[in-house]
């Protein structure tokens, strides 16, 4: 059964305060990181733990930290990505609301590892409740000496600030986020240079997801091996999964990597809502290819198994579609999302996402033709690898995977027209 191992505070909804966090053993890792470890040792333990970015791309966290220039005159920034906007994803919101101190602790530890004196948490503008929880936790941490000047008497200084987004999914993309944090339109930057070299205000910057940074705390406390042993050889540790759609018990669960999907789905989540049959699952947020019910039978919740099944673990957001769902209808909903959220900077994405929306609208309205399906099929080639960021390719995934797996539903709409 799923249980909260590395995010103990998430078992409660009313213990976000400092006292409750200290009772759970909070800020022990910070002491260890400040007094018993050198910065390189912190990075090493994170590397050894195999922790991968939980924001969607799954990049090895410790390795990312080593990309910072060894010597620099410039300040180094740590930025926490709390823009959480990938449809299906709602785990970071719970960390911010219910475990804010774990995030702060993880950020100060990471800041020490990378030598950063200032960090920002970029919180999507709509998240007012998480914002207040973080604001309160920051004040508490300051008062108790876990933040600010000379933290716990160690000589290490760190200030942490909150920054609000303005309602734009694209600002979850790390370089768009940096532009937004600088007070500009949230348009992604071309890479290289990567943020580690030239990020916020042109300075070396590490951007990590909320869950990634919070996961550093148990890793520092219990060691890399302990974390590795929680998961599989290639996907160490645990991961938060948010599950929604047609599921009996939607919510946020901590799952050991490698857990069979069906076991998790049936035992922890109670299976399909109202006992209906399963039709499809989008396992990693709306931007990854969908799976049929049949494919789900052999799926395990880890990076490799998802790839073997032709999809991705992404942000760990599972969207469940039952037998009543008309797949083209669902895909059209997502296409509308991507066309609205494309920043418009790259023509293939701006035009391509719009075409998906328009053509699918036509098909749904009973005015489609078989050629429209070919058109939908061909657009991906004009978007993939031709854009600055991954939003365009994200829009391709639901369309292409559904055409491959549920083509008959599209054809039925055309034939019945």
């Amino acid at each position: 059964m799923a249980e909260f191992i590395t995010f103990p505070s998430l078992a409660y909804t009313d213990r976000a305060g400092l006292d409750a966090y200290l009772e759970l053993g909070g800020y022990r890792s910070l002491r260890k990181a400040l007094f018993d470890m050198q910065p390189e040792q912190i990075t090493q333990v994170v590397k050894d733990s195999g922790l991968r970015g939980r924001g969607g791309a799954g990049f090895p966290t410790g390795l990312k930290w080593t990309f910072l220039p060894k010597q620099t005159e410039k300040p180094v920034y740590l930025v926490c990505n709390a823009d959480e906007g990938e449809p299906g994803t709602f785990k970071d919101r719970d960390i911010l609301r219910y475990a804010p101190h774990q995030l702060i602790e993880g950020m100060v530890i990471a800041a020490r590892a990378i030598g950063s004196k200032v960090s920002y948490v970029y919180i999507r503008g709509e998240f007012t409740e998480p914002w207040r929880a973080m604001e309160k936790a920051i004040a508490e941490a300051h008062e108790s000496g876990f933040l600010g000047k000379n933290i716990l008497g160690s000589g290490f200084d760190h200030e942490l600030y909150l920054h609000p987004g303005g309602g734009a999914y694209i600002c979850g993309e790390e370089t768009a986020l940096l532009n937004s944090l600088e007070g500009r339109r949230g348009e992604p930057r071309t890479k290289p240079p990567f943020p580690a070299v030239e990020g916020l205000y042109g300075c070396p910057t590490i951007v990590n997801n909320v869950e990634t940074l919070a996961a550093v705390v148990p890793i520092v406390e219990h060691g890399a091996q302990w974390y590795v042993d929680l998961g599989t050889e290639k996907s160490p540790g645990t991961k938060l999964f948010s599950i929604c759609g047609h599921v009996q018990k939607p919510g946020v669960y901590e799952v050991k990597m490698g857990t069979p999907f069906m076991e998790f789905f049936e035992q922890d989540c109670g299976g399909v809502l109202n006992g209906k049959a399963l039709k499809a699952v989008i396992p990693g947020g709306s931007s990854v290819p969908m799976l049929t019910a049949e494919e789900c039978k052999t799926l395990c919740l880890d990076y490799e198994s998802c790839v073997e099944h032709g999809t991705m673990l992404g942000s760990g957001a599972i969207i469940v579609l039952d037998e009543t769902v008309n797949i083209p209808h669902a895909v059209h909903n997502l296409s509308k999302f991507y066309s609205h959220e494309s920043c418009g900077q790259c023509t293939p994405c701006r035009e391509g996402t719009r075409w998906y929306e328009v053509v699918l609208e036509r098909v749904l309205a009973g005015q489609g033709s078989m050629e429209d399906l070919d058109l939908l099929q061909s657009l991906g080639n004009q978007i993939n690898f031709r854009t600055i960021c991954a939003l365009g390719p994200a829009a391709v995934a639901p369309v292409e995977s559904s055409l491959a797996k549920f083509r008959s539903e599209y054809e039925a709409l055309i034939r019945e027209a």
Partner: protein, 161 residues
């Protein structure tokens, strides 16, 4: 009257500015602050923000137009932002939208303000609370597991207050 930041807002802005090495970084926070009191972002707000941050008006206007949380037209007394993205749609968002259009007399339009100026409805993309759908933000706060009955009761309450 043209928008101006109040004394207490100016103090808040001073605190905000101390968080960043560049004034420009405070653009989004200042716009939020202004919209909170003013309801929307008009040319006068853009000018006030630009002046306070020593930016050009065109820069601020350009930023405003990029982000969907900023209202570029006046809004009603209460703003309801309904999530229209897949996860909410799967669990009943469309019935909420139908109800809102009907109650506010919006016809076929998805977004708009009722004649009395009580409510502005807008449909927005994923709000990041997908397991608690359908979700809407009403005057800045999340309302989860919404039903038509719940929404109707909330709106009655707001209308009466």
């Amino acid at each position: 009257m043209a928008f101006e930041f109040t004394e207490s807002e100016n103090q808040q802005i001073d605190r905000l500015l101390s968080c960043y090495p560049s004034k420009m970084s405070a653009t989004l926070p200042l716009l939020h602050l202004a919209q909170k009191r003013n309801g929307w972002i008009g040319p006068d707000v853009i000018e006030a923000v630009a002046r306070r941050l020593e930016l050009t008006k065109i820069h601020v206007a350009d930023v405003v137009s990029f982000y969907s949380m900023y209202h570029r037209k006046p809004v009603g007394r209460h703003v309801i932002s309904v999530c229209r993205t897949l996860c909410c749609q799967l669990v009943g968002q469309e019935s909420l939208s139908d109800y809102l259009r009907e109650r506010l007399g919006l016809g076929e339009a998805m977004n708009g303000t009722d004649e009395k100026g009580h409510f502005t409805v807008e449909h927005v993309e994923c709000l990041g609370a997908c397991g608690m759908g359908p979700v809407a933000i009403i005057d800045g706060e999340y309302h989860e597991h919404l039903t038509v009955d719940k929404l109707a009761a909330l709106m009655d309450q707001l209308e009466a207050s």
